[in-house]
């Protein structure tokens, strides 16, 4: 019995240290990564290791909420907005305030030392667990009891906060149409008046590869980049074609429907 408890403690300690190191390095990677998508992935790593740490600390409900709400919903929201705002936009490395980075890191080191000193001086005793079942099987019922009795007013305020946030997001993301939607007639007139009224060749049509990022092969043997999606051009690992695309679907939709 004692041996089993000792083994369990050792496992807990090993898990804690492994996860702490993973979370720390993932956090550092998040700050250091230049592309925003990499930051999101590092943040997912931190959040998942924190979820396991919650389970280790006797908070199984929070562990699941962490995975479902944070990693599942919040981080996906981040990725959605990242895809809207532009994946390719990497951070500008120019410092607008001179010496800001150095001072930020110095301040952070100072804050770290201060907080760790405070923790070191505080008398944090061993785990006093008068109700150990609250951290095990009856965790969820204990939490429910607390939320719906002592914390019932903050809980109700939370619902007001959520409604306000949803409304605020709708108001902020709403966009008034500044000009009337173009009708089919106007669209066809615009198409006839443009330089190429015929349908454009599809990507990869008559090309060497049947892939969406391949330019079409024109009858005269040259490549046509017209219908290769503009978001694919920067990430394609094929030789860049010299002639830039003159008109793409994205341009057309941007002309008629600016954000």
């Amino acid at each position: 019995m004692l041996l089993a408890a000792g083994a369990a403690t050792a496992t807990q300690e090993t898990t804690f240290w492994v996860l702490a190191i993973i979370a720390g390095f993932a956090g550092l990677g998040m700050v250091a990564a230049r592309k925003a998508v990499h930051c999101a992935v590092f943040l997912a790593v931190v959040m998942l290791s924190l979820a396991v740490l919650y389970a280790l600390a006797g908070a199984p409900f929070l562990a699941f909420v962490q995975v479902i709400v944070y990693t599942g919903a919040v981080l996906m929201l981040f990725l959605f907005v990242l895809m809207i705002v532009g994946v390719t936009s990497s951070d500008a490395l120019v410092e607008t305030i001179r010496g800001q980075r150095v001072w930020a890191i110095l301040t952070a080191i100072g804050m770290l030392v201060l907080l760790l000193l405070i923790i070191g001086h505080a008398a944090i005793g061993p785990v006093g667990s008068p109700s150990a079942t609250n951290f095990g099987v009856s965790n969820i019922s204990g939490l429910a009891e607390l939320i719906f009795t002592r914390y019932v007013f903050p809980f109700e305020v939370t619902s007001a906060l959520l409604i306000t946030a949803a409304l605020g997001a709708m108001v902020l993301a709403h966009r008034e149409r500044t000009r009337p939607k173009p009708t089919q007639k106007e669209l066809s007139i615009r198409r006839i008046a443009s330089s190429d009224p015929a349908p454009l060749p599809g990507p990869g049509t008559y090309a060497q590869h049947n892939a969406a990022d391949m330019p079409a092969l024109l009858p005269d043997g040259s490549n046509s980049e017209l219908l290769v999606s503009t978001s694919m051009v920067p990430r394609a690992d094929r030789p860049q074609v010299t002639a830039p695309p003159t008109r793409t679907e994205a341009d057309v939709s941007a002309e008629e429907d600016p954000w």
Partner: protein, 100 residues
Amino acid sequence: MVSPAHYIALAVILFVIGAVGVLVRRNAIVIFMCVELMLNAANLAFVGFSRLHGTLDGQVIAFFVMVVAAAEVVVGLAIITSIYRTRRSASVDDANLLKY
């Protein structure tokens, strides 16, 4: 046994990393992610304190922090997209119309 002090120390480290990110990064979305990291660190400290005191109040507070963080993310990302619409940029340096 992992003592609550370990949890709180890890929370402090993650919080400071998030603070560095907020100070250093220029992309608004990445700054938001760093704020999320700081909130997560606070949650970890709450869970550690809950373990220390042997009551569940800390976990309830962490739960509320998660709700507030979700609401904050929704509104903040809506603001970022609406700024992106008008300024075509997600950098915090480009939203400078109110400067001076």
